[in-house]
Structures are given as C-alpha cells and as structure tokens.
C-alpha cells in the first residue's frame, strides 16, 4: 500500500532579483519518512524548504503541505509543522525552559514540554540562558521547540553543521527517534554521509534543480560505480592472476598498494581466496563501497566538498 503523501511540490521556482535560487523543483514527501535535500551550499535547498514551510513566497509552482497551501494558509500550517531554521537564534538571556514554555503557548496544540527536556538531554540545562549553550545543545533546543506543538512534519535545515562528529551522530539518533514516533522529517544537509546514513529518501540538488531522487541505496546502485578491495603487499608477489577472476573487473597497483575493482559482493571473497591460495602476504585489507559522494560526483561532475 503506498504511503500517504504529506508534501507535494510541483515546478517550484524562486528568484531573488537576477539570482535564480530555485530553478525548478518537484518532489513528493511521504508520511513517516526522513526525506533529505542534499547538495552543496547555494544549491537551493534552504530556499526550497522555506517555500514549503510558507516562510517565502515562490515565484511559481504548486505547493501542498498537509493539504494546505503554504502561501495562503501559512499560519494554519505553522500549527501543524515544526521548523528549525538556519541562521536563527533566540534571545541571549532567555532560559531553556522559558523558550519551551513560550513556544508551547504559541500553538493551539502543544505537548507538555518537561518530557521533551529529558528526551533531548536538556534536563540539566533547564535554567541555562540560551547564549551559554553549546552548538549541539542549541540544536537540540531547536528540535525541542520544533516538537513542542506535536507537529506532523518537522523541518530541519542544516541541523548538524558546525557540530563535531560525535554530536552529529547523537543528532542522527535523535532524528530517527522523531521519525519512529510517527513524524515525517524533512531535512537539508550538505554532508553526503549524513544523507546516506539518515535519510529514507534523498533528493540531490545542484544549481536550483533536483538531479536525482531515490533511496540512498538505489542512488548508489544507479551510478554503477564499482566497489573496491584495497590492501597493501607485505612482500612483492605476482598478482596477474587476479585479473582472470570472474568477479574482478580490473586491478591497479601503486607501489605496494593494490586496488581491485569489482561489481559484486563476491569480489572480496574471490580476492581473499586468491591471496590465501597463492600464499600472498598482505595487510590492511578493506573493502570500499561507493558512497553518496560518488553519486554526487557522477551526477554533477564535481566533488562534493564543504
């Protein structure tokens, strides 16, 4: 059974004077999924999301969010969605609990905010002023504020930018928990790894357009990049036989470092078997799968770098 659609975007377009922020974007988001818009800075992710949230008025295109038109029913929509914005802040001296209490009072429906403090690990920061929070704590507070009206969709814009890897992983767990509570999550990120690990479906954006949209697995499969088996020779050996293996497409040697390319999961099995049969001494063997970075590189011809 297909899942219900909560967001429909058709040919969204948004310009700022001569600058085309979003050239054309069409997408659908299904209930209960984590949907990611990924792409480099300036790809049009934030503009697209802010049009969907009803914070910006698109130049053209059809938008439906939870059956509402974000341009016309913006305030009704805000009752039912939660947003975390890029480049926003709270008052320096507002306390964590005051912010939650305030935001809870702004919506017709709200959940008790005390449990949210616990769930987001902010319980002992309850009386801390906003300015004294760390980057990760601020982001967690934003998520709590976005959840306080018990929204059906939550929008997270560059949630983990500026966080260290550990805090980033903790944030991913939080986002998954939000999804597991039945909410739909729409997030933007310029970390390909984040899109791959976290999102159920991903739209890859570049220059104001969506260049691909699918699950991360299917996107990675679709580009046809081979997986690699990489190892280091401990002493010189004749490896020409590797090229004859069925699951190996080619092999590269740079000094004592060997890279074997192949398209199937069996490649690594055959390579290891070959090495042990021929008593080749090696170390540091590992496999490298294609990632979303390869997807971006293949689709746009450019490396995805911060």
């Amino acid at each position: 059974m297909p899942r219900p659609t909560v967001i429909e975007v058709e040919n969204l377009r948004k310009t700022y004077g001569p600058v085309i922020a979003v050239e054309t974007v069409s997408l659908e988001v299904y209930k209960g999924e984590i949907f990611g818009l990924v792409g480099p800075n300036g790809a049009g992710k934030t503009t697209s999301v802010e049009c969907i949230e009803g914070l910006r008025r698109p130049d053209a295109g059809k938008l439906r969010v939870l059956g509402l038109d974000p341009g016309r029913d913006g305030y009704a929509l805000r009752e039912r969605i939660g947003v975390q914005l890029q480049e926003s802040a709270l008052q320096n001296r507002i306390k964590v609990w005051e912010a939650l209490d305030l935001f809870a009072s702004l919506n017709a429906r709200s959940v008790p905010w005390e449990p949210l403090l616990d769930q987001l690990g902010l319980a002992e920061k309850r009386n801390a002023p906003f300015a004294k929070l760390s980057g990760g704590q601020k982001q967690r507070l934003y998520i709590a504020l976005a959840l306080v009206n018990d929204p059906e969709i939550i929008f997270l814009d560059e949630l983990t930018t500026g966080l260290d890897p550990q805090a980033r992983r903790a944030m991913w767990d939080l986002v998954r928990q939000v999804r597991d509570r039945g909410k739909t999550v729409v997030l933007t990120t310029h970390f390909m790894e984040e899109a791959e690990r976290l999102c159920d479906r991903v739209a890859v954006m570049d220059h104001g357009r969506i260049v691909a949209l699918d699950t991360p697995e299917k996107l990675i499969q679709s580009i046809g990049v081979e997986s690699r088996v990489v190892f280091v020779l401990v002493q010189p050996a004749d490896l020409t036989g590797l090229n004859g293996l069925e699951e190996v497409s080619r092999m590269e040697q740079t000094g004592d470092r060997i890279v074997v390319y192949g398209r199937s999961d069996q490649t690594v099995v055959e390579v290891v078997k070959f090495l042990s049969t021929n008593r080749v001494r090696f170390r540091d063997l590992r496999t490298e799968q294609p990632t979303m970075d390869d997807v971006f590189l293949t689709l746009t011809g450019r490396e995805m770098r911060e």
Binding site: L55, R78, E79, S88, A89, Q91, E98, A108
Partner: protein, 252 residues
C-alpha cells in the same frame, strides 16, 4: 485575534520584560541612573519653591524632565538596539516562523519598552514623593497622555534607526550620537533655563525638547492648548517614524 494568540503575545511580552531586567546596562540606564541623578541633584538643590522654576522646586521640574530622559533612553537606545540586534542574530527570523503575527512580535517589544519606561517614571515619582516632598499640581491623566505621546514618538524614532541602519553596531552608534546632545541640551538632564540663549534656541529643534517641555508643562498643570507646538512636533515624528519604518523595516 483568538484567545490563544493573545496568550502567546502576552507571554512573549512577559519574557521580554524579564529579559530586560536581566540586562544590567539597560536596566541601569532606564531605572537606576535617573534615580541617582534625582538623589544627587536633589541633595544639592533641594525642592524649595523657586521663581526660577515658576514657583515650583527643583525636584518638581526634575521628575518630568528625567522622565523625558528615560523616554529618550528607551526609545532611541533600548528599542533600536534590541530590534537591530534581534534582526542581526536571527531572533526576529525565528519568531516570524512561528504562529505569531508580525505586529505581535514588534508590538511585544513596544509594550515591554513602554512598561519599563513607565516603571522608570513611577520610581522617580515615588522617590520624589518620599524623599523630596514632590509637588504635583497637574492632572494625572493629562500627564499620562503626554507621557504616552512622547514615548510613542521616541519609539518611532528608535524604529527608524533600527530600520535604516544595516547592523546592530551602526544602530547603536547612531542612537548614541543622536541621544547624547539631546540628553544635555533638551532640558532632560540640565534645565534649559541655565543654557546660553544661542544654545537654547538651537535646542528647541531637538526631538527630546518638546517631550521635556510638554511633560514639565502638564506636570505644572498647564493646558494642552499652551503646548500645541510640541504636540504637533511629536505627532509629526510619530507619523514619519511609522511611515518610514513600515517602508524600510526588514526582518532579516
């Protein structure tokens, strides 16, 4: 507006009020500094009736004048800096993305600043009454109306600065540059009666001067008819401020 929306609006206003009290500089200049001036100069000049002040004492003229000073601080400095820095930090942007209407977000700022301005005046009046036997020949409602007009005109000035200046820093500098000459020349801290005639005729054109003259006049029980010039001056500032900031105000 629904009940729910009003609740959010008042909650934001209350939070803003608490935040103001946590800001030591702002509370000092609005609430404490005028009291210090009152005690300092009150202890020097006392409050004996004096023909120089039309038969009233020093304190009887200082209370409305210092009230004008608080209005100047609140409108020009507190309001403009807080709006400009809220914009720069993305706080306005954050609240604009809630169910709060734009007029509620800015309105809560105005009400918060208005209440602390009023609180500043009330502290002056209480201190004047208790310590210096403050005389008040005027009509309380009339003085309150003058207080509201002066406040709103200066809040409008503050909004112009916050709208026109690109950064919080430039708003602050502009506010200071405008405020300090007014503080000393408009009669808000030093009675204009002691200024040389040339300075006095120039200082008539400073926007804080009509606030001082209007409040002092109403405090003494003079009629509004005697102060139509000041009322017109302040009304023009108020209307210009609303129009200019409506045209130029930016949320981010």
């Amino acid at each position: 507006m629904t009940m729910k929306m009003m609740r959010g609006f008042w909650k934001l206003t209350w939070v803003e009020f608490k935040l103001f009290l946590r800001e030591p500089m702002a509370s000092f200049f609005t609430l404490i500094f005028p009291l210090m001036m009152l005690f300092l100069f009150g202890s020097i000049y006392g409050n004996k009736p004096n023909p120089f002040f039309g038969g009233l004492g020093f304190i009887d003229t200082a209370v409305p004048a210092y009230t004008a000073m608080i209005i100047g601080t609140s409108g020009l400095i507190s309001l403009s800096i807080s709006i400009a820095s809220y914009r720069e930090q993305g706080i306005l942007r954050r609240f604009k993305a809630t169910t709060l209407r734009p007029q509620a977000i800015l309105g809560s700022q105005v009400i918060q600043v208005f209440s602390v301005t009023l609180l500043g005046m009330i502290l002056l009046v209480i201190a004047g009454k208790i310590v210096f036997h403050l005389r008040f020949p005027g009509n309380p409602l009339s003085v309150f109306a003058g207080f509201v007009l002066g406040s709103m005109s200066f809040f409008a000035l503050g909004f112009i600065i916050a709208s026109v200046m690109p950064t919080a820093r430039s708003s602050q500098v502009t506010a200071m540059v405008l405020f300090y000459p007014m503080l000393f020349l408009s009669g808000a801290s030093i009675p204009r009666e002691v200024l040389p005639p040339a300075v006095r005729s120039f200082s008539r054109f400073l926007p804080l001067t009509p606030v001082v003259d209007l409040l002092r006049g109403l405090w003494q029980g003079e009629s509004w008819g005697k102060h139509l010039g000041e009322v017109a001056f302040l009304a023009v500032i108020l209307i210009a401020g609303v129009l200019i900031s409506a045209k130029t105000f930016k949320w981010e």
